[in-house]
Homo-oligomer: 136 residues x 2
């Protein structure tokens, strides 16, 4: 049902300091930077293999990533799996009784269509499914 | 320097309950189960795309994963990137002054060679590099 790991999302306090670590120390090329207001984050995508690391800095303390940082500190915030048809995957998850955060897809970074599965359904792991936009 | 995301490691309290979620609800095939005494875990590998989810249950409370669960609760414990030559990657990281947990590789699941980078060098993310054994 799920395809490859598309990215991991990393909650960070200082986007530019984290960028230096990932781009310079770990050698990951930066491919995109975007403020995703709907999700309350400024995000940077870096390439690693066919996947990505997504650095996420909160736009304020009362955003999901802001609350995550206050509760758990910096670290891996979510994992995202690629799917070819997000509507079909959501329908299959719903049919299986899986608890979802998003019943319908919303727009994610770089025009992707995304939805989050509730961590209660995945052993405490915030899990995203993502259908990349054409060309990504 | 780093290749694709090889796996995410998920710290779980109940291995069989988590296995049911990942194998049945999310449809990931189980490919391997192993007790890695050196790391203090019982582990299950599931396939997703060309990568894996590694479910990790601690062998006791005084193990790294046991302490992680007590401190943070169940969730993503680490991310692992594939490399073709782990000795070369470790040498490059050391030359760049990157703080490492393992200065030399040790044996991981399925006969892989692995090493951990210190979370201080990666924005709080416990990061593993892994050179898979031949055939994996």
């Amino acid at each position: 049902m799920l395809g490859r790991i598309d990215h991991i999302g990393v909650a960070v306090e200082d986007l530019d300091a984290s960028l230096a670590l990932y781009a310079e120390t770990l050698g990951m090329p930066v491919v995109h930077r975007e403020t995703v207001t709907e999700q309350g984050v400024e995000a940077i995508l870096l390439d690693v293999g066919e996947g990505h690391v997504e650095l996420l800095a909160p736009l304020g303390p009362e955003t999901p990533v802001g609350r995550y940082l206050a509760r758990k500190g910096p670290g891996i915030h979510h994992v995202a799996y690629q799917v070819p048809d997000i509507d079909a995957t959501l329908a299959a998850l719903k049919a299986a009784g899986t608890r979802l955060i998003d019943e319908t897809p919303r727009i994610g970074i770089r025009g992707s269509r995304v939805a989050f599965v509730h961590p209660a359904a995945t052993g405490g792991v915030l899990t995203e499914i993502v259908q990349p936009a054409e060309g990504h």
